[in-house]
């Protein structure tokens, strides 16, 4: 069950929620492109967001994945019975520097 946390909204009016130990966005009611994309990117670009974000969204945000790649985030998808999608976004762990040989 998601609950509201004291964070500034993203994309001007999308509330940031808390769900199972990670920040979460419920974008299922937002159908105007590119607002869902802007909301997600704004959240993951915030310095205090942490390494994991959950997103509930009505449609697969195909445009989002190249943006995640650019920012070093990975994703996994889980489809709900109502056709909506639960995305788990995870910040990639930086590669350790190669030891000099």
């Amino acid at each position: 069950m998601s609950e509201t946390v004291k964070r500034a909204p993203v994309a001007s009016d999308v509330p940031v929620l808390w769900d199972s130990g990670a920040l979460c966005l419920d974008l299922r009611g937002i159908d105007t492109p590119p607002k869902p994309l802007v909301a997600i990117v704004e959240l993951i670009e915030r310095a205090d967001t942490g390494d994991s974000v959950r997103v509930l969204i009505a449609r697969d945000p195909i445009n989002l994945y190249p943006e995640l790649l650019e920012r070093g985030w990975s994703w996994s998808k889980e489809f709900a019975e109502d056709g909506s999608l639960r995305l788990t976004l995870t910040r990639d762990v930086p590669e350790p520097p190669e030891s000099g040989r």
Partner: protein, 422 residues
Amino acid sequence: MGAQARLLDPTIPYRYFAAALGFHILLWALIAAFPEDAAVFAGGSGPALAALHSLTLGVLTATAMGAAFQMLPVATGRPLRSTRAARIASWFFIPGTGLLIWGMAAGEHLPMALGGFAVALGLGIFLVLISEILWRARGFEPLGRFGLTALAALLVGVALGFVLIMDDDHGFLDQRARTAAVHLIVAGFGFMGLLALGFSHVLVPLFALAQGVPAGESRATFALSALGLVAGAAGVYHGVWFLAAGGAFFGLLGAALHLRGMARCLATGMRKNLGVSALLLRAGWGFLVTSLIVGLVTALGFFEMQGPRLFAFLALFGWLLTFLLGVLQRILPFLGSMNATGAGTKPPRPSELAPEGLLRAHALLHALALVLVGTGIGMEAALPVRLGGIAGLLGAVIYAGFALRIWWLIHGRPHATIKERP
């Protein structure tokens, strides 16, 4: 709708984009090879008419078809009713455009008529498929309003084009030159122009990662642009020049409002550096305003024959082609990365697919081509047109190389040169 279901089979948009890249090379080659035709073009078949349609149908319309088939289902969540029909449309449209251009260049009626018929069939299929998506997605106001009106303009533009082809052989039109001018205005500003304005409502905020344009502002832009289009076309056809000037004036107001919204998107978006594509977008918008000012001044009687020629050149080459190349420059790497995402492996980042040096070289040559050809048309001199055509041709080859490189990195040799990511 399933995860990858809305991501169209990439061969559908790519075939239209590949055709556009080929016709882009052809149009500059025709200008470079026959500069005297372009410098004093006043209508009628020949290499200049062929180059013009290589741009309007071959580059602008083909790209619009590929982008619409790809983008609209993703943006609206309404799938394309038939991907088979989108393929069939390409079988008519792409060879039909080639045949039409050949007929125009050679001044031969039969290939012109057959090519025109095939183009009309392809565009008819496109029109049905896209209007059906836009109708189901009427809630997406800007896309629906601009898109459906653009498709209505396409219908009128194609009908007028076909009448002009028939008149070329039978000579039944009393006002051929005015009919041709209305065909240019309706197809250029009505179909391509309104489509560009409508798509910009989604694409520019997407590129800049910004909030969209407010609904009221978008409605006002549409009303002014549509009013300008109708007044401009009616004024030109009936020879009522103050009405045509009024059309250009309303068009200018609509353009100013649109550009204010676009500038706000770019200024407030999270992505501040849009690279070379932002330069092309901004230059295209500058040419939109310039073309309407030239149209206004021409309607008021301040130019002779150079006026209409410059107006057409600034609108089609300056605004629409420059803007489209800027858009395509961002879409192609993004699309490549999106399509690779579905392959089950970690795809390349869009920035890895867009080498800045290549894009800068293209933008420089494109700008040089516009300045030289524009100067040649203004002075009715063939030499600057030829030099501009050569610069444009080199730029077009570089642009095709940029697109082929993306295709090669995604599909030709996957994972060979792309840095593996954890």
